[in-house]
């Protein structure tokens, strides 16, 4: 997958401590790790933005081993659910976590990561095209995974490299987790062209992040809508960051106001601001708004990436050819993933989508063919870039708090939870914030005497305050 030796002497990685590794060194680390695994199998990679985690990801793909990427701080219960469902042969974890897995045996330790052997041996057959597994929501702990193939990753990586015009002089600093499709796509595209990755666990609200960005001469980073709200709040638009060449945005719809502000900033400062759209189901990316159109078309998610194609379908499944008509967005391209896995047996499934993804997002296009997301079909929110399914959240709450009823609605970055017990508000927020790993500020709880339902017992979300409008 990765031709690391083509870029032998190029700088591959700069770590948080300032250590630098070339592509040749990265390759050696990968081989050291994967030489401990005899044949193709399933491995969990518990991710942090650290070298050990990167070596796992890159090494496993190169050695034809299939990693499931999970965040290292995933809730224990959810991790156990994934372990029991998919029964991986190995797990690669930060060494400071290794002692928690008392039943697994240590196989290899390096770069502060430890490879552990589980008691499982090839429990499920792996389809030969299967390269990588990612979670769909990551946070509500549904062990539903997206199955990505080698061809998917290669196709999407090449498209992104092409439209962003990347070369080996780039240096991206990590702002997104390595288990998150957008974070992975940044890694993929940079490795593809022999560019450098600056790995940091520090966030935008920490001084160390900005020091590293400047000291390592980062040329780009990516962010979800909430990232841009924070950047705006930090008065990023007034910062002097000479090495920075471009910023990308994905993971949900940025408000048109912020889109316009950052587009203007880019033009005034000779930088690029590129708004994009994608889903894990499409490997990562489906569209981008070319930087030169960023201001003129602010609010738009642009055009299909090279090699991809969009169409809109109406409720009867017919294609829409008129501009400014809303329909469901359908994407066609080689980066459309194989399908989902919900149990171990699903890992042997082949391609179920044949290159066509019905996105579940409602969109329109303008006279010039630029697309705009206007809503979504399914009941989920994007919270800080993470997909959070509202029905799953309800299920989690109802299972934990059996004594009262609840209903979840809201808008992106702000979920509203209605409950029928006026005393349980704090408890519910603590519980759901703990389960999802999302900050409690994303949730508000309202007391309601009774959840409005129709005769069939279905919750009438539209009757709940705030109506479920998802724009």
């Amino acid at each position: 997958m990765w031709k690391l030796n083509e870029f032998k002497d190029n700088l591959a990685v700069i770590t948080e401590n300032g250590e630098k590794y070339t592509y040749a060194q990265l390759n050696a680390f990968c081989e050291n790790l994967t030489s401990n695994i005899k044949e193709r199998c399933l491995v969990f990679n518990l991710c942090r933005n650290e070298i050990g985690s990167l070596v796992g990801y890159v090494g496993f793909l190169n050695a034809n081993i299939v990693p499931l990427m999970l965040k290292a701080d995933l809730d224990d219960e959810l991790l156990n659910e994934c372990l029991n469902t998919y029964k991986p042969d190995y797990i690669n974890v930060p060494s400071d976590m290794a002692d928690r897995f008392t039943k697994f045996s240590k196989v290899f330790e390096g770069l502060n990561y430890t490879l552990l052997k589980t008691p499982f041996n090839h429990e499920f057959k792996l389809n030969e095209d299967l390269a990588l597994l990612l979670t769909t929501s990551g946070s509500t702990g549904s062990p539903k995974l997206v199955r990505q193939s080698y061809k998917n990753i290669e196709a999407n990586t090449k498209s992104i490299v092409e439209y962003l015009n990347l070369n080996e002089t780039e240096r991206a600093i990590t702002t997104l987790p390595m288990n998150y499709t957008y974070g992975i796509s940044i890694i993929n595209t940079h490795l593809w062209v022999g560019a450098s990755l600056i790995l940091t666990e520090k966030g935008l609200m920490q001084k160390e992040f900005w020091t590293q960005l400047k000291d390592s001469n980062a040329t780009s980073f990516g962010g979800v809508p909430y990232t841009y709200e924070m950047l705006y709040r930090l008065r990023f638009l007034r910062m002097d960051l000479p090495s920075l060449k471009y910023l990308t945005q994905a993971g949900g719809k940025l408000s048109p106001e912020l889109h316009e502000k950052f587009a203007k900033w880019a033009i005034d400062n000779n930088k690029k601001f590129i708004v994009m759209y994608g889903q894990t189901e499409a490997t990562a990316r489906m569209s981008y708004l070319p930087a030169e159109k960023s201001l003129e078309k602010y609010g738009s998610m642009g055009i299909a990436i090279p090699g991809g194609k969009f169409s809109l379908i109406d409720v009867n499944g017919n294609e829409i050819n008129q501009p400014n008509t809303i329909g469901e967005l359908v994407y066609t391209g080689d980066n459309v993933t194989l399908g989902y896995a919900e149990c171990g047996q699903d890992l042997q499934k082949g391609d179920e989508r044949n290159g066509v993804l019905v996105t579940g997002d409602m969109a329109k296009f303008d006279e010039d063919g630029f697309f705009y997301i206007v809503g979504r079909k399914k009941r989920f929110l994007k919270i800080y870039g993470n997909r959070v399914n509202l029905d799953e959240t309800e299920r989690l709450i109802k299972t934990h708090f059996v004594e009262f009823d609840c209903a979840c609605t809201g808008v992106d970055d702000s979920m509203k939870i209605f409950i029928t017990d006026s005393n349980a508000k704090d408890e519910v927020i603590s519980f759901i914030s703990e389960k999802t790993g999302l900050n409690r500020q994303a949730f508000s709880v309202e007391f309601i005497k009774e959840i409005p339902k129709n005769e069939a017992g279905k919750t009438l979300y539209k009757h709940l305050e705030g109506l479920f409008v998802n724009v």
């Binding site: 935008l204 001084k207 924070m230 008065r235 910062m239 800080y384 914030s433 900050n439 500020q441």
Partner: protein, 81 residues
């Protein structure tokens, strides 16, 4: 309310912790104090003291103690009052 009480209250509000727990807190000690929580804390402090914090101070506010230092040195908040 004294300035220290106001200050502590901002942490209590932002992170749902007790005033006792607030006094030893550092960034990322608890889940609530991540980048999202940090924004909430800054807003709470700005409202409580009617100030506008500079970027360098926002990203330097890495603990309860550090925040006190920043507010007294740069925003003339007197914690003995």
């Amino acid at each position: 309310m004294s300035n220290l009480e106001k200050y502590t209250n901002a942490f209590v509000e932002a992170f749902e912790v007790t005033p006792q727990d607030a006094t030893n807190l550092k960034y990322q000690d608890i889940k609530a104090w991540d980048s999202v929580g940090h924004m909430g804390l800054v807003s709470a402090l700005e409202d409580a003291f009617d100030i506008m914090m500079e970027t360098e101070d926002i990203i330097d506010l890495s603990s309860f103690e550090k925040g006190k230092e920043i507010l007294s040195d740069k925003y003339e908040i007197d914690f003995s009052k």
